[in-house]
Structures are given as C-alpha cells and as structure tokens.
C-alpha cells in the first residue's frame, strides 16, 4: 500500500459560508443548514487553514459556499492566498458581484471565476434558482470577459432544464465564454432530497448530449464544452474525488475538514475541525482521511476486482445512501449486488418531462431546512 505521506491534497475547497442568495434544489450542501453565521471561521482562521494546506502541497484553491461573495473579507483572503502561491478559483452565482469588485479581485490575484446559471433564460433561471438574477449574471459574465479574467460558465443540468442545453450554449457563445461546463447535478444533500424530480430520463440525456455534440461540430474551437453525465446511467462508478483522501480536501464554513463535500452523510465518522487540529495531522493521521484511502478497506466484489484501482470502488457516500453501508461497492457499478437499486431509480425516471413537475422541487433555504429537520425528528 502507498504510504500516507505520498498523498498531496492538491485541491483545497474553502466553503466560506453556507449563506446563499440562490436556492438551488440540487445543492450539495447539507439539508440541515446552520441558521446563523456566528460559527463561521474568521478571516484569521481561514488564513491559518490556507497556510497549513499550502505546506501540505495544496495549490488549487476554490472559494465556494454557499455564496462566497457573502463574505466581506473575500478580497483579503484572495490577497493572502495569492501571496501563499495558490491558483485561486471563485465559484459563484455572481450575486453580489460588481464591475468594481471584479477589478479588485483580479488585482488581489484571483485566477478564475466560475459563474453558474440555473436556467437559460430569465424566467426559468428565476424559477429554478429562486432569485431574479439572470440579467445580472449576463452583465457580470460580459464584465469578467471584458476585464480578461479567465471565466467558466457552469450550467447544472437536471430533469427540469435538460431541454435548455441549446439555448444555454447559444447564449454562452454570444457572450463570448471560452469554457462551458454542462454538469448534471449530483445526488447529495438537497440534490438527493429532490432526486425524483431532478434525475433526467435516458431520452432527455441522449438528446442533450446530441445537441451538445452538434453545437461542438458547428462551432469548432470557439468554446470548450465539457459535458458531465449523471453516473446513475453509467455501468462503472466514478472515483470519489479522485480517490478518498488522495487529492481533495474540503473545509466547511465551520472548520470541519471533509474528504469530499458530501461526506457528512456517512454516519459514524468524526470530522476533525481546524480549530482543534493541525491540517497536517488531519490529512495524514486522522481516522477520517485514512478510512477509505487506497484499497485495503474494500469488501467484495471490489476487493478481488481487477478494476479496483481504476475507480477505487466509486463514491462512498453513494454506497452508503443506496446500500446502507459505506464500505460496499458504489451500486452504480453493474457488478454490485445492489445495482438493482440504481436500476429501480433510473427506471422511475423514464417518464416524460413535464413542466408542472417543477412545483415538486424543495428549494434550498433556511425555511425548508427547518421544515425537513422537524419532519425528521
């Protein structure tokens, strides 16, 4: 087995806050959102985290949330991160962004902005994101391009907007975007809660991929388009964040360190906090980061599988959510004895798309969070 010291957390995802003006029903944040921001890490604490992670070899830094622009100290954090040698990515809804702020963040050392759209036009963006923000997103996209800051547009795909791929790509192209990500949402947190109304049918998926390929053919080289299909339709799982504890480290707003954004769903795991421990100890020595590292933890059919190094058994959270045991194979794998569960879920998604379905989505906001918490107890 590879020794733990050879793993480098090249990616640090800093979830600065859970506060967010957008209410995406597919958000991967936990359902139980803190009602208050008083436990968020302070500026000094974040700087300490960034310094410790940089020492471990972290070099790509993502500021996300929630909406990272909610933090008044964002620019200060970018300055500090830049001086530490990070390449800094801002993952944002663009709400709270202004032309002046873009200039300031660029001057502070920001490398790249990713702006997400919830719908491909004003009305659906409002309906799916719960904010009337489409015009602002368009303005900010233009402004980022004008100020020559590398930009990616992110369009999270699901059952309710899968048919909008062409409209979105056309818009992105007309704005002059260089890079577009069409990422099917993943089923964690709020996304899992809303899965029934988010998982596309096979037909929708095939259509969206065809439209994307046609667009690529027609506009060769102008814009890079990256399409991410939902893994429920694959017959082999995806690695967990490039391998549990191998590359990624997420620090959540309250200082808990996670191997991936979703890991909090796994019961029986303790999440060490940067307020109590050094990141080096957390990364190298904690039970959490060692629990599913490499292949030693595997059970059958993964344990003796010739492909085990390729996908490392897939996603631990998905294994837990769909089979009840995080040490099982990710049931997306057709070799998993629980694969039927995935087939049952995708089978239910083969109904045709209906616009009214949108009313069934539970939006991510403190009110719904409270309601869900009450239902659970």
């Amino acid at each position: 087995m590879e020794s733990a010291t050879t793993y480098i957390p090249m990616w640090l995802l800093a979830e600065l806050t859970f506060a967010c003006p957008v209410q995406c029903s597919y958000c991967s944040n936990p359902l139980e959102l803190s009602a208050s921001r008083k436990n968020e890490l302070s500026t000094e604490e974040w700087i300490r985290v960034m310094r410790q992670a940089r020492k471990l070899g972290a070099v790509q830094l993502g500021f996300s949330g929630g909406e990272p622009l909610v933090r008044a100290d964002l620019e200060e954090l970018v300055v500090e991160a830049k001086s530490l040698g990070y390449y800094i990515n801002l993952i944002t809804s663009s709400i709270g962004l202004t032309a002046e702020k873009i200039t300031a963040l660029k001057g502070a050392g920001l490398g790249h902005i990713q702006i997400s759209f919830q719908g491909s036009n004003r009305e659906s963006n409002k309906l799916l994101g719960g904010t009337d923000s489409f015009d602002h997103k368009v303005t900010m996209t233009k402004e980022v391009i004008k100020q020559e800051l590398p930009l990616g547009l992110n369009f999270v795909l699901h059952r309710q907007n899968m048919h909008q791929v062409k409209e979105f790509l056309t818009m992105a192209q007309s704005l002059g975007a260089e890079f577009v990500e069409l990422a099917n949402c993943q089923y964690y947190g709020w996304g899992l809660h809303n899965r029934e109304h988010l998982l596309p049918s096979q037909e929708q998926l095939v259509d969206a991929e065809r439209v994307t390929n046609e667009f690529r053919e027609q506009h060769k080289g102008d814009m890079d388009i990256f399409f991410v299909a939902p893994d429920y339709y694959d017959d082999r799982p995806k690695k967990c964040s490039n391998g549990w504890g191998s590359t990624f480290m997420t620090v959540n707003p309250e200082g808990e360190v996670l191997p991936c954004q979703a890991a909090k769903v796994i019961p029986g795991l303790e999440f060490p906090n940067v307020r109590d421990h050094e990141l080096t100890d957390i990364w190298h020595k904690s039970d959490l980061f060692n629990r599913f590292r490499g292949t030693d933890w595997m059970t059958e059919p993964c344990k003796s599988c010739p492909e085990k190094e390729i996908d490392l058994g897939g996603c631990r959270c998905q294994a837990l959510m769909l089979t009840g045991d995080a040490t099982n194979a990710d049931p997306v794998c057709s070799l998993s004895p629980h694969h039927d569960e995935v087939l049952r879920i995708t089978q239910k998604a083969q109904r045709p798309y209906q616009e009214e379905d949108i009313r069934e989505l539970v939006f991510r906001n403190p009110g719904n969070s409270k309601k869900i918490r009450a239902e659970k107890s």
């Binding site: 471990l56 070899g57 070099v59 790509q60 390449y87 990515n89 490398g111 990713q114 990616g152």
Partner: protein
C-alpha cells in the same frame, strides 16, 4: 487565436497561466482554472526563458549556452514550442 509563426514572431508565457516551483511535488508546474500540468526539467528550462518576450532563435541561443553540446536540442525545443503554442501556454507578443 494561437495561430502565429514561431519562426518570425515574438512570444511569451500566457499570462493566464501561473508558472511556479512546487516544493511538495519537487517540480515546476503550470496552473490554470481548476488544473495543473507538472513540467519536466527541459520544459521548465524553456518556459523560464518565456517569462519575458522572446523568439525561437533567441531561445535556442540561450539554451545552447546553458546546455552546451546537448544533442538534438533544436528539434526538441521546436517540438515543445509547437505543442506549447497549441496548448496556448505561449502567446504572441504584439509590439
């Protein structure tokens, strides 16, 4: 966008890439949105000289001085530059 003649035009490292030494990986890297490329020693030697505007012939002169007698240097450098141009690691410098 990346179409310029490596024979006649000045070029430099694309300012959109961050080029630096990484202690943890013991190599130079090029950083870009959400990713990185680890660079070999020879790629590093070339890109280091591209931090200021340069030309293919000036680069070759400098590298021949730094690595006298290196075999096949010209071909290797030209091959690397062609690839770097395709990846947009280097961009044209307009006067």
């Amino acid at each position: 966008m990346s179409e310029f003649s490596l024979e006649t035009v000045s070029f430099k490292l694309n300012p959109r890439y961050q080029f630096q030494w990484e202690e943890a990986q013991q190599c130079h890297v090029l950083l870009y949105p959400e990713g990185l490329v680890k660079l070999s020693d020879s790629a590093t030697a070339i890109l280091q000289l591209c931090q200021q505007p340069t030309t293919t012939s000036r680069l070759l002169d400098e590298l021949e001085k730094a690595f006298p007698g290196a075999e096949g240097l010209e071909d290797d450098v030209k091959e690397f530059l062609a690839d770097a141009q395709k990846q947009v690691w280097i961009v044209e410098v307009r006067d």
